[in-house]
């Protein structure tokens, strides 16, 4: 390249600057233009316009105010600009030699104190390049979609203010060059998640869900923080490149033991479970569906929730040194995958099904990381971003069509009314179910294979993951059948308004559908004759981990790395068998769904009736929320009330007041000496004289 853009990497900061500009502009617009709207001059603003997506019943379209058009332009445009810069940067990165594909741009020193020095610096390398492309690309599509979806929302600019802020935070998270910056983005996306989930703050359930998300995330952040402290005091830095570079030396000097690595990585993983909704901190994600649907698509499916996976992948070198953590990650991932999938079976709310599906798919990604297949994890992260965003946006389109109805039991036969939504969603469903040829198949299959074949893996993990895959196929097709097929169960009143969504919403769906099909092709495994570009692209990131692990196991460099690569290159016939098996399981799941919801639609209710307890258990998500509520929240609140009422007021304050009372009552008693009779005072003087003279005489 020539010209001013000869080195696009000098403009990395633009990737952050564009969304930030969007934040500022939209924020100003929101403050200036929307604030008076929110102030109720009288009572006409009080009716329930909480749900922006289904404002149709408000009837006649008013002329769109100019500022809304401005917002509708600025917000997606900024993200698109960021996407362009990101794309150009990645292209330039790809032209560099594979070993030197790490670009760090330092903007300014942020915190410097004692031994700590953290700069605001951006790091572009293969891993973050995947992330920024996914984030800006999918993010842009969702912004476009949102313009249509939120068109009836009064707080239009505020919504995009938040959404741009989210993009900014998320890009900080993935582009930051140190753990601390990652943490900044990490908390920033948490903030945006809080704001966007609670976007319709007048709904108690929404603001509660937002708070829950933030607090649960904070529990995870607690682990992340402590992990950072451990990293800093042992490595002396928080920069990725420095940390990675110092691993060999620290291993050599015996500071970086497996124990330390385990501590660091386990704490990091606590953070990851919070952000990426893994057991035991997944509980906030289903509730997060209270937010507008584009938010669910962007934050709670495609980008933010995958931050945990990104973090684990980013720290792969440390994770590889901690076999115990790896095992934990894999087991938690697999358990989350199957557990969440099982919860998805009975949900009636279309978004909740997708939410549990997201939790489940995130479990896959962690399973991949846990067995050392970071590439597979990141690959699935990417494909999942495509098809899950598609599914969420599709569901949003459905909800839009249904005037806000989210209960699948009140849908059906929508295929006729909303064909684009149907076809795109169907593609997404095929992708998530793992039908060969689509994006989800390649990534999921690679995870399954690694779960079986990797040195960290085991057949049990494979089996669990395969069952979860079957379950996924089942409930996703259940969703499709209930929503788009069969007899209409739609309210008559609603049915009149059912319509296909505008182009601003359907075009992103179509783009995502294409991506859900093709997105996987860049990572076709070698076993299927693919070149697996994806794995090669990410190799520089993950080889550090393998090397470190090799040092740890004393099997020095060449042998171990060769073994790892050897496993990938080796064409095991087992791989084909398992591939076939997983496809079979998926098809089996689809078949059951077809049988239960197409052939015998009355059957599911009967099954539920036959096993009332099991059904209740699953439908109520195993009562985990209630368990937490009873076990932790109630205890803490009651304990706090006790601390306040009993300890603070009844003990400390009582002691303080007691001292005061003692002094007071002592004064009360002694003042009785004051009789007011002159003679008595004279007597005291006399006594005093006697004593003083006596003392002077006989001293």
């Amino acid at each position: 390249m020539v010209g001013p853009l000869s080195n696009i990497h000098e403009y990395l900061w633009l990737i952050l600057a564009f969304p930030l500009a969007g934040v500022v502009l939209n924020g100003i617009i929101a403050l200036v233009a929307e604030r008076p709207l929110l102030l109720p001059a009288d009572d006409h603003g009080h009716d329930d316009h909480g749900h922006g997506g289904h404002g149709d019943e408000h009837g006649a379209h008013h002329e769109t105010p100019g500022y809304r058009k401005l917002v509708a332009f600025i917000a997606p445009a900024m993200i698109f600009a960021a996407f362009v810069v990101a794309l150009l940067s990645v292209i330039q990165l790809a032209q560099m030699p594979a070993e030197s594909r790490t670009v760090v741009q330092t903007l300014f020193t942020w915190i410097q104190s004692g031994g700590l020095s953290v700069s605001v610096a951006l790091q572009l390398d293969p891993l973050s390049s995947v992330m920024i492309l996914v984030v800006t690309g999918v993010g842009f599509l969702i912004h476009v979609y949102s313009v249509g979806y939120m068109s009836h929302e009064p707080a239009f600019a505020r919504f995009f203010f938040y959404l741009n802020l989210f993009m900014f935070s998320m890009l900080t998270l993935v582009l930051g060059s140190s753990y601390l910056l990652m943490f900044v983005g990490w908390e920033g996306v948490g903030l945006c998640s809080y704001l966007l989930i609670g976007f319709w703050y007048e709904k108690d359930s929404a603001s509660t869900a937002g708070k829950k998300a933030f607090v649960v995330n904070r529990v995870g952040d607690f682990g992340f923080l402590l992990a950072m402290f451990l990293v800093f005091w042992n490595f002396g830095t928080l920069n990725y490149t420095d940390v990675m570079a110092r691993i060999p030396a620290l291993q050599h000097s015996g500071i970086l033991t497996a124990g330390l690595a385990t501590a660091i990585t386990l704490l990091m993983f606590v953070g990851a479970t919070g952000k990426s909704a893994q057991i035991p901190l997944y509980i906030w994600l289903p509730d997060a569906m209270e937010g507008p649907t584009p938010v669910s698509a962007l934050i709670h499916a495609a980008t933010m929730v995958t931050a945990g996976v990104y973090m684990v992948a980013r720290s792969n070198a440390l994770f590889m040194l901690a076999p115990f953590t790896m095992g934990t990650v894999a087991v938690i991932g697999a358990a989350t995958a199957i557990f969440a999938a099982s919860m998805g079976i009975c949900q009636k709310d279309i978004k909740r099904v997708l939410a549990y599906s997201t939790v489940s798919q995130l479990g896959y990604m962690f399973l991949a990381c846990g067995v050392g297949a970071f590439t597979a994890g990141v690959f699935h992260l990417m494909t999942h971003a495509f098809f899950k965003a598609l599914l969420f946006l599709g569901s949003g389109s459905v909800i839009h069509a249904m005037s806000g109805e989210q209960d699948m039991m009140k849908m059906g036969s929508l295929r006729k009314h909303t064909p684009i939504t149907f076809y795109t969603m169907f593609i997404g469903t095929l992708a998530i179910a793992g039908i060969p040829g689509l994006a989800g198949f390649f990534s999921k299959d690679e995870i399954l294979w690694k779960a079986y074949s990797s040195s960290h893996g085991s057949p049990v993990l494979w089996a669990v993951a395969a069952v979860a895959a079957g379950t996924t196929a089942f409930y996703m097709f259940r969703l499709i059948f209930l929503t788009f097929f069969g007899a209409s169960r739609i309210d008559k009143e609603v049915e009149k308004h059912v319509h296909e969504s505008p182009f601003s919403m359907t075009i992103p769906l179509m783009v995502l559908a294409v991506l859900s099909i093709c997105g996987g092709w860049i990572g076709v495994p070698a076993a299927l004759g693919g070149l697996n570009h994806f794995e090669k692209w990410l190799e520089p990131i993950f080889e550090g981990g393998h090397k470190a692990a090799a040092v740890a196991t004393e099997a020095l460099s060449h042998g171990a790395t060769a073994a790892v690569h050897g496993a990938a290159a080796h064409h095991d016939p087992m791989e084909f068998i398992l591939m076939g098996a997983s496809v079979a399981v998926a098809l089996f799941g689809i078949a059951i769904a077809y049988y239960l919801y197409m052939v015998r639609p009355e059957k599911p209710a009967k099954i539920a009736e036959a096993n009332p307890n099991l059904y209740r258990l699953v439908y109520n998500k195993y009562f985990v929320d209630e368990l937490y509520e009873w076990l932790i929240i109630r205890r803490i609140v009651n304990g706090s009330v006790w601390l306040w009422q009993m300890f603070d007021v009844q003990f400390i304050d009582a002691m303080v007041n007691g001292v005061a009372k003692t002094v007071r009552s002592a004064g009360d008693e002694t003042r009785k000496i004051q009789t007011g009779v002159v003679g008595n005072y004279a007597f005291s003087i006399l006594l005093g004289a006697v004593f003083i003279v006596g003392y002077l005489i006989w001293r």
Partner: protein, 100 residues
């Protein structure tokens, strides 16, 4: 010549008797008189010691004490009159406004 301690002991006796009057009596008039007695006792000591030492200061002090005694009696009695007008009593146990 008399032992000077005799005067001093006499002074002490007068003072003590006066003190008993101040402490033990309820009648405000008598208490005031007892105060005069005490002052007198002190005067005896001043005068005696002054004359034994040949120093006029003792006498001067006695003189001052008498002046003060006169002033005190005048003010004290007028207070007493004022109180009597107000309370119709000279019993100091009934004049305990300062109690507690």
């Amino acid at each position: 010549m008399m032992e000077p301690s005799a005067y001093l002991i006499l002074s002490g006796i007068l003072f003590a008797i006066g003190a008993v009057g101040v402490v033990a009596r309820k009648n405000a008039l008598i208490i005031l008189m007892s105060v005069e007695l005490m002052l007198n006792g002190v005067n005896v000591a001043f005068v005696a010691v002054g004359s034994y030492l040949g120093d006029p200061t003792g006498g001067i002090f006695a003189f001052m004490v008498m002046t003060v005694a006169a002033a005190e009696a005048a003010v004290g009695l007028s207070i007493l009159i004022a109180i009597y007008r107000l309370k119709e009593t000279i019993d100091i146990t009934e004049l305990s406004v300062l109690k507690w």
